[in-house]
């Protein structure tokens, strides 16, 4: 009996594999086992750019990995598990992932919060809601066209911006450079 429950658990968990779930934003039915009570408030910060800016310029000893994403962005969702994995490994390596969601206000309660809960995201998620994008995109990187996914990695003395998608190995490789 215990074994079959265990097996069931494994099967259910396997069904949650990110890789198979690029269009994860809508269908939530497979996530019954992690369904939580609906959040009555967002429970995550919503920032204007000037409020986000300090998170992009910390001067401690950590390496920060800032990923710009949204639940509607399929390539973002595809790479999110790699950022989660990197974040889990962060304590040992002294780095930290911050996921900056660019979901639109109408999607916060319907898409974003359920997504965070269903995927059980552990990395810190903040929302950037600042429609005058032309004013702040160049402040994040002068060459960023505005396409997402995009990622900023910085430490006290190094800063690099990537308008691209990542795999786990690519992220790891970049982070090694930051550690040297």
């Amino acid at each position: 009996m215990i074994r079959s429950v265990l097996l069931l658990c494994i099967l259910v968990l396997a069904g949650c594999d990110f890789k198979e779930r690029e269009k994860a934003t809508s269908a939530n039915s497979e996530f019954v086992e992690t369904e939580l009570a609906p959040a009555d408030s967002l429970g995550i910060p919503v920032y204007k750019f000037d409020e986000l800016e300090p998170l992009l310029n910390k001067k401690d000893d950590k390496i920060y990995i800032i990923n710009f994403w949204a639940t509607w962005c399929a390539p973002c969702i595809k790479e999110l598990p790699y950022f989660e994995k990197i974040n889990r490994e962060g304590e040992a390596h002294n780095w930290k992932v911050i996921l900056v969601s660019l979901d639109m206000p109408s999607m916060w309660k319907t898409k974003l919060i359920p997504f965070i809960k269903n995927k059980n995201l552990k990395a810190e998620v903040v929302v950037l809601d600042d429609p005058d994008q032309n004013s702040w995109i160049p402040k994040i990187d002068k060459d960023w066209s505005g396409a997402i996914p995009a990622t900023l990695i910085y430490s006290r003395n190094k800063r690099k911006f990537y308008e691209q998608t990542f795999t786990y190995d690519m992220l790891n490789k970049e982070l090694q450079e930051f550690q040297n």
Binding site: C73, P131, G146, A147
Partner: protein, 205 residues
Amino acid sequence: MKYLLANLVLLASFLSHNGTLKEIDKGYGIGDYATDFSLPDINGKKVSLADFKDAKGYLVIFTCNTCPYSIAYEDRIIALDKKYKTKGVPVIAINPNDPDLQPADDVQHMKKRAMEKGFTFPYLVDEKQEIFPQYGATKTPHVYLLEKTKNGNVVRYIGTIDDNYSDASSVKTRYVENAVDAMLSGEEIPLTTTRAIGCSIKSRK
């Protein structure tokens, strides 16, 4: 002098032909000549910039069915076409996404979307995904304002439509309208490039 100039042009074209892929990937800057194209619309009919004999310019907009930003701007793209087509600057929309990667961006869905919204402009398919890299479009929506001159179509503005995607009534600066108005009246365009968040173009390359 004329001879020298011709040689310089030749040299420039030689260099650009032999330029690295990376340089080409960057796409156009302000003042560059933009390529014409012959791309099928939602009914399979080929459309080129040159078809618009009386045009003074074009609003070439890379957009698609699926991106929330494209959807947020649909009504404003229609309004731009209605406002400027009669002044000689029609909208030409191009969907750059690979439908194998984004099935809801295939031509059937384009057709459906164009009907539902009542698109007043051609909605073209970048079938071989060869046009958007030449322009340097990276996302949807991505606007290129071209001015027709006797030497070709010159890029006058690259960027986003206005400064508030989420609420058309809260817009303070209409970048594209300002650019077209300035171009048509022969004035300097106040802001020639702007940036906005958009959906990365879906391509296998």
